[in-house]
């Protein structure tokens, strides 16, 4: 499985914040995605029908999850009826072994890959390389990060953090092409290099955006045409799919194909949709002779088991929650430390990988709720994050995770909030203590008490007002000759 580096979250996000080039790229891209999505939804549907589409989609996905064993069985039967093979892998290691076995049995030397997040989870490229098989990513963004040896920065725009100069020097190094600032030229270089691979590859690996239970149809959504190439040129096609990718009926695709591209890139539809459910027919002119569908669990059971977290599996990986997230917009994708980033990454990474290692991720949110509002399948991400925070704080990880200082503070807080006089007394004390450190209305550094100074280490604290609200209230009312209980005095 791909290494989980989420324990580095705080350090990595600090690094991202100081990276000016990255900040520029993030701003630019996010603005573009957010604007394009809003425009197409408004021009095609309007808020009301968009809302009812989201409600329907959420209900379909949730019901599919509640009956997942039934639908997995249905897909299995459908695909095998179509002449394809179906596999069930508990974890990344099993899934990798299945892929490797198919490759070795067929003497495969080159594998072309169309974008698949599950394959990122599995780290399958590594495993293939170790066995002398060359994996080649064919989505342009994925190809760039493969050459750079990185992980995707964004679910749907994996290389958005790379500048044209960086891409040019990567191509110079790996493809021996001439340096250029022309993006069109860079695309042509990649196209030509990949054409050779398409012609040479014996096996194609793709992900799955949707898997239709009743027909066994895998639906792929792409813009470049690499998904079509991967399912057309090689002799063998392997699909890697998270087990939650199922929709029950082929007619459900109409709804999901309306929601996904608009949410993702603000397109009415992507340039290509490929629908494949088995090997080519003998009378077909071309196409793979073998079709293999691998369902992967790899930690998804932990989400399914928890009735609160289960809805996270409705995710169709559109990326809208990333694009709209004030935290992602500042720190980008790499800080999250694994395959999935942004709000949904913060939700799924801890249960899917390791709660301890990824314990900071549920806190990587302001809980502003925008992610929930834009999610095409209405996942209540803030609620799920709170649920995870609760688990972290309760010590569900086998340890008390709060400090004694925090507990003391919360205890005091609890007391104060139950008693007005006590609250005012504490507030006055706080005002007195912090006033000497305030400059220009902000407290930039609080020196005493380790916990409090930690709070101001990465952000400013607004300086307390000279007079408390309660006091102002009393004074104003006295002037207006109004009794504090709201009744005008006569």
């Amino acid at each position: 499985m791909a290494e989980v580096k989420s324990a580095e979250f705080k350090k990595a996000s600090g690094r991202a914040l100081r990276d000016e080039k990255l900040q520029h790229a993030l701003e630019h891209v996010m603005e573009h995605f957010v604007g394009a999505r809003a425009n197409i939804i408004e021009s095609d549907f309007g808020d009301e029908s968009w809302e009812s589409m989201r409600t329907r989609a959420a209900a379909i996905k949730q019901s599919t999850l509640e009956h997942l064993d039934y639908y997995l069985d249905m897909v299995d039967k459908s695909v095998r009826r179509n002449g394809g093979h179906v596999y069930f892998a508990d974890d990344a290691a099993q899934a990798n072994a299945i892929v490797l076995d198919i490759a070795k049995r067929n003497g495969v030397k080159t594998v072309i890959k169309s974008k698949s997040m599950v394959s990122e989870e599995m780290g399958v490229n590594h495993i293939l390389e170790r066995e002398g098989i060359e994996p080649v990513e064919t989505d342009l963004g994925e190809y760039i990060i493969q050459l750079a040896g990185e992980t995707p920065f964004h679910i749907i725009a994996p290389a958005m953090h790379k500048t044209r100069q960086e891409v040019s020097s990567l191509f110079q190094e790996w493809l021996k092409t001439a340096p250029t600032q022309d993006i069109k030229r860079l695309c042509v270089y990649a196209r030509d290099a990949l054409r050779e691979k398409f012609a040479a590859a014996d096996m194609g690996i793709s992900g799955a955006n949707f898997v239709v239970a009743e027909t066994g149809t895998v639906c792929l959504v792409t813009n470049e045409g690499n998904g079509r190439m991967t399912t057309s040129a090689p002799r063998i096609h392997v699909v890697l799919a998270g087990m939650e990718k199922i929709v029950p009926a082929i007619e459900d695709l109409a709804l999901f194909l309306r929601l996904l591209p608009r949410s993702a890139t603000g397109q009415r539809i992507t340039s290509y949709n490929t629908f494949v459910g088995g090997p080519r027919a003998p009378s077909d002119e071309d196409g793979p002779e073998e079709f293999h569908l691998v369902f992967v669990d790899n930690g998804r059971l932990n989400l399914l088991r928890d009735e609160v977290m289960r809805e996270a599996l409705r995710c169709i990986r559109c990326g809208a929650c990333l694009n709209h997230c004030p935290v992602y917009q500042k720190i980008g994708g790499h800080a999250y430390g694994w395959v999935y980033s942004g709000p949904i990454g913060a939700v799924v990474t801890p249960p899917m990988t390791n709660m301890k290692v990824a314990r900071d991720l549920p806190y990587a949110s302001t809980l502003c709720g925008t992610c929930k509002d834009v999610c095409p399948v209405k996942i209540d991400i803030p609620r799920l994050l709170l649920h995870l925070r609760h688990k972290v704080a309760e010590g569900a990880l086998g340890e008390r995770s709060t400090t004694w200082m925090e507990r003391l503070f919360v205890g005091q807080w609890h007391g104060a909030m139950r008693n007005r006089r006590a609250l005012e007394g504490k507030a006055n004390l706080g005002r007195l203590l912090t006033r000497p450190f305030a400059r220009g209305g902000k407290v930039r550094k609080l020196p005493f008490a380790p916990m409090v100074s930690g709070w101001t280490a990465s952000r400013d604290f607004p300086a307390p007002a000279p007079k408390s609200f309660a006091r102002l209230w009393r004074e104003e009312l006295a002037q207006d000759n109004v009794h504090p209980n709201g009744m005008e005095q006569r």
Binding site: V86, A157, G225, N273, A281, D286
Partner: protein, 250 residues
Amino acid sequence: MAPTPEEHPNKAAFLLRVRSALGRTEPIVHMPDHPSLKSNAMRQQEKVRTIVARNEARRSPTLDRLARTAAAASWNVRRAGDAEEAASIVAEIAQQSGVKNLVRSAEDVFKRVNIDTALRSVGVSPAILASGRSRSRGALRDMAFRADMGVTGVSYAIAETASCAVIPRKGVARLASLAPPRLILLIEPEQVLETLDDFFAVTRLNRMQARGRATNYFNFISGPSRTADIEQTLTIGVHGPGEVHMVILG
């Protein structure tokens, strides 16, 4: 027909774990309540009959809508009054693009729209991209990759999204509409449907009626191959055709 592949040895244990994660001990026997799953062949046929009737009644506005959404999705749209005009439009596009190696599929539409004659009159000789007796898999692939323009028909076109559903089969290679950098698709009026819902309802019925001999593969082509993966700058023509033409008869 090839035998049905075997069940994976881990399937039973996998499903058991899923089931117990959901808090159940027994498998579900009755199909969960899902309307679009439950409709049987007869009801589906009824549904499709209504869809077809509606599409026939609204043909002309639907063709206009297709032309509009297609133009918005960067298709070059041309409308032809009849088959002859359609053939000469194809020839005109090929000539303007300076095409040398043109491949086409072998479909019924070319019996009605004689593009071969029209193309030859402008000095382009079209080749049919099909394996036939003499062509191996590799040879077909080479031919597709060498071509600078592909021309094929469609099975359906969807006005809502300007999506052309292309179903590969005998005479229609997958690569014909994918490998060449320029593509022309010929669309006949009866092939046009209003919405994605219409298309999937029809597809479901077709599968039910094909009784296990249904096609395992089809594509939507909804515009030129594109990417914005470098600096969010839209670039046309990556792995698929960057120049796409839609010729609508009617």
